[in-house]
Symmetry: C2
Subunit: 120 residues, 2 copies
């Protein structure tokens, strides 16, 4: 049982799109990640995915619209929705999603992360 | 599909311990709530409950220890753990928990909230 300061924990995030796990809530995990540059287009067929912006600004690109997200914004990408996170400068994000979620969803790319560490 | 600015949404929270729902992530909900004064001792036998501090300071009282939580802190109360949120001044909190979680857990008190509205 420990508390984690989320802004401070970003000092452990070494590169963009390499998330760390900050907490488990039943079968859901809170992760922290840096968004920087375009990610890969993907979708999660079976899981919703929430983005909460800790610091900075990003764009959630989707096939029908783009949504600009700024500090304090919460946005849920519904399951089955193709999306591509993008940012022109590093953006600190808290993710809330099932532990079963793979970052690149239905795709395997050079950005796919299968074994994610916990915040130390 | 909409974004919600969490700090701004607190303008819709009218009193302490009256949460609003900010988002659904599969069977989990993000809620916002004001902690102010002692809540009621309770536990959730089947669900973990995460607290993320948006602004202010609170104490998570438990039977074996108290944990002080400040802005940016994430803390998960494990299922089956008796706890009582407390604060000496209004503290803005984001809760992450199964939609099935009742705020007073295994107790029914005058603080029990069964029908929770969404952020407008």
């Amino acid at each position: 049982m420990r508390k984690i300061n989320i802004p401070d924990a970003f000092s452990q995030v070494k590169q963009a799109y390499s998330p760390l796990i900050a907490g488990d809530i039943d079968d859901v995990q809170v992760k922290i990640a840096l968004i920087d540059g375009p990610f890969d287009w993907h979708q999660h067929p079976d899981e919703d995915e929430a983005f909460f912006i800790i610091e900075g600004e990003m764009v959630m690109e989707m096939r029908t619209q783009n949504i600009v997200l700024k500090q304090g914004d919460l946005f849920v990408v519904p399951k089955g929705t193709e999306h591509r996170p993008n940012a022109t400068a590093p953006c600190k994000v808290m993710l809330i999603e099932k532990a079963s979620v793979l970052n690149t969803g239905d795709k395997t790319t050079d950005k796919t992360k299968k074994d994610i560490d916990y915040v130390a």
